[in-house]
């Protein structure tokens, strides 16, 4: 005989409340929601408490946009750049989502800084909250790791060179430094194996660690409870508590709206750019990291010779250690920041120092000829971003099956005019100012996309007889026969296409930009500005 189970408390309401009840009996969802929403906040809701949930929101945004990017992205040195260009230039919503992901990473750092400052100033880490702090400190480093690994993935010039610098910095660690650099790079040089490693770290390893520690952070937070304002006792709260819902939820939502509005607005109005494909042979390129690494970048300029270990390893190591061990060092139950002068002063010095270093780095970059080169790089990046998408081409037609009767005339690089034009470009000295691959130098602008900018005959006329502005920049008349001119223009048309310089990209043993002997800051060897002092 069959018997149906009857729910003990069969509610009478409508379908929705009955469905909710059905779910609740099986999952306990009502109790769970109540537990989440009724969290008591001593001293009541405040705007100052919104940063933690703000970080969670940005993390979720990064997950959503990151998964979206992974839908079209390919992590190989040969194709990464084209796939990012495809996302940015072709796919509907691609430029917006990539910008959102890029700006989101900056927002993460800013809100992380605010979350840290709020927690520190309020002394919210006190009173049996050491593990809560430690998990947060670890999360900060994981977030920085996400920034570092994500920066390489587009495989454009700045990505390549910034990673060359970053991985060399790790090489300054005594004894195991070289091993760390090789581990990060997957060998001696930055190439497709480096890209795979950074991709795996950025997409699998670090995010799963972040997820795990966010879970731990929230659990530990719930166990300890919100610390409340500075006057509240950190262990046994005395102030009147207000539940999390509704006021704090409204504040958090307000902040979430602000964050999304700012990020979406920026992404829509100022989408992030993509530079030309990484060219390890480019000796002119000045690498600059993301803004939040600028203080470290500037800091490295002060250290050279044997003392570099102090600057790169010892001092940052001590700061990181103090940061991690804060709740064990600042142990009194006193929360008011003005009664904790030593920790307050230490944090103030480090924060002001970092901001000043960042500003100094920006000011340094305003001096000639650095400023010109950086402006030129920015221009190149804008030009590349604005140029139409060029698909990645490979040439399987080189070995056509025996049955084929058609001429393999489809592959651009097989046009005999192109090598002829390239020879003219090199022999007549065009490459001296416009760069070996025509992407420009500090002396002359990029020629990438020039054939799209000017019709053929207009371009030929300009080359024969440059206009006043070109002459002013030192452009000579190009004395070439019509045939030669045609070959030159055919070559110019291939500039900037992935197929125009495949050996450079494919060749992972290309010269390493910054390996130097001994303990000097690695950059100095080949990046003049970095060691300019």
């Amino acid at each position: 005989m069959r018997r149906q189970i009857k729910d003990s408390a069969q509610p009478r309401g409508g379908l929705a409340s009955r469905a909710l009840n059905w779910l609740d009996v099986r999952t306990g969802v009502k109790g769970l929601t109540k537990m989440v929403l009724d969290e008591p906040i001593p001293g009541g809701a405040r705007w100052a408490y919104v940063f933690g949930s703000g970080l969670l929101l940005i993390f979720l945004l990064q997950v959503v946009t990151g998964i979206s990017l992974a839908l079209y992205y390919t992590p190989t040195a040969e194709t990464a750049h084209t796939s990012v260009a495809y996302i940015t230039k072709q796919v509907a919503g691609g430029a917006f989502l990539r910008s959102l992901h890029s700006y989101g990473s900056s927002a993460m750092i800013i809100v992380l800084g605010l979350h840290f400052l709020q927690t520190f100033i309020y002394g919210s880490f006190k009173g049996r909250r050491e593990l809560l702090w430690l998990s947060g400190a670890l999360l900060s480093f994981l977030v920085l790791g996400m920034g570092f690994t994500g920066y390489l993935l587009p495989w454009d010039q700045k990505a390549y060179f910034a990673t060359a610098v970053g991985t060399n910095v790790a090489g300054q660690v005594p004894i195991i430094g070289n091993l760390i650099t090789r581990m990060l790079r997957g060998g001696d040089t930055i190439g497709t194996l480096t890209l795979s490693r950074f991709y795996v770290a950025h997409v699998f390893l670090i995010p799963s660690a972040i997820l795990a520690f966010v879970g731990a952070h929230i659990l530990l937070f719930r166990k300890a409870g919100p610390a409340g304002p500075m006057r509240e006792h950190p262990v046994t709260p005395r102030l009147r508590a207000e539940p999390f819902y509704p006021r704090q939820v409204l504040f958090d939502m307000g902040f979430a709206l602000l964050v999304v509005a700012v990020l979406a607005g920026l992404s829509y109005l100022r989408p992030v750019t993509l530079g030309p494909i990484a060219n390890p042979a480019d000796s002119q390129f000045l690498p600059r990291p993301e803004w939040y690494y600028l203080p470290m970048f500037e800091w490295l300029k002060f250290w050279e010779g044997p003392s570099v270990v102090i600057g790169v390893v010892v001092i940052p190591g001590i700061i990181a250690m103090v940061f991690f061990l804060m709740p064990f060092l600042d142990r009194r139950l006193e929360r008011k920041v003005w009664r904790r002068p030593i920790p307050a002063l230490a944090v103030a010095i480090v924060v002001t120092g970092m901001i000043s270093l960042g500003i100094k780095s920006k000011i340094d970059d305003r001096q000639a000829p650095v400023a010109q080169q950086l402006a030129h790089q920015e221009e190149q990046e804008k030009a590349y971003s604005a140029a139409p998408f060029e698909p990645y081409t490979n040439s399987p037609a080189i070995n056509p099956p025996a049955t084929s009767t058609s001429a393999p005339a489809l592959v651009v690089s097989l046009d005999p005019m192109i090598p002829k034009g390239k020879n003219i470009f090199t022999d007549r000295g065009c490459s001296a100012c416009h760069g070996d691959d025509g992407t420009g130098t500090a002396l002359a602008p990029t020629l990438v996309g020039i054939t799209r900018k000017f019709p053929k005959d207009r371009l030929a006329a300009l080359l024969h007889n440059p206009n006043a502005r070109m002459k002013e920049g030192g452009m000579p008349n190009v004395d070439a026969s019509p045939d030669e001119m045609e070959a030159l223009i055919a070559y110019l048309a291939t500039l900037g296409k992935p197929s125009a310089n495949p050996p450079v990209v494919a060749n992972t043993s290309a010269p390493e930009p910054s390996r130097s002997k001994g303990n000097s800051v690695a950059l100095v060897a080949s990046v003049p500005i970095h060691g300019a002092k």
């Binding site: 979206s68 509704p246 999304v260 698909p391 490979n394 009767t405």
Partner: protein, 167 residues
């Protein structure tokens, strides 16, 4: 409206707004290749027209097909058949069997196209003779330009009685 449900409505609206701002581009982004499918509308060369002027039975040719595949451009080898239609004009036939997409082969001795998968048979002009295919072999658009026979290679929906272009 009670205060509690008023607050819940406000929160729901805000969450909805955020979900829309982020969700709309994500949906467009994911659907992009679904809407803009691979299409080759370039003319591909089959050979000199003089090569085909005197043929009376189908000739297999391999063309080099340039196709966009997402962010890459691929050049693939694609066989086609040049044959005479029932009115004697030259035509280019797709080798893709309109039944389920196998590649048909020309059997000179039997004077017909035979599909190796399910035995569909077609005459030298591509018309359906017997077997499961619901229609004859698909004709590809072709033109003669500067003495060269050119074709537009395209795919058609399989197993339907009428030729239906897959965009």
């Amino acid at each position: 409206m009670r205060r509690r449900s008023f607050v819940a409505t406000i929160l729901g609206a805000c969450a909805g707004a955020i979900a829309t701002v982020i969700g709309t581009p994500v949906v467009r982004y994911v659907l992009y290749p679904v809407q803009a499918a691979t299409r080759t509308d370039k003319w591909t060369e089959v050979g000199d027209i003089s090569e085909f002027e005197k043929i009376d039975s189908p000739v297999a040719k391999t063309i080099l097909l340039t196709q966009r595949d997402g962010w890459r451009e691929i050049v693939s080898h694609q066989p086609v058949f040049v044959s005479r239609a029932s009115d004697g004009k030259l035509q280019v036939l797709s080798p893709v069997c309109p039944h389920l997409g196998c590649s048909v082969a020309w059997r000179e001795k039997q004077n017909k196209f035979v599909c190796p998968c399910h035995g569909g048979q077609f005459g030298s002009d591509g018309s359906r003779l017997s077997g499961p295919p619901p229609r004859g072999l698909d004709r590809l658009d072709n033109q003669v330009k500067d003495g060269k026979l050119q074709v537009q290679f395209q795919y058609f929906r399989s197993n339907v009685p009428d030729r239906e272009l897959l965009s």
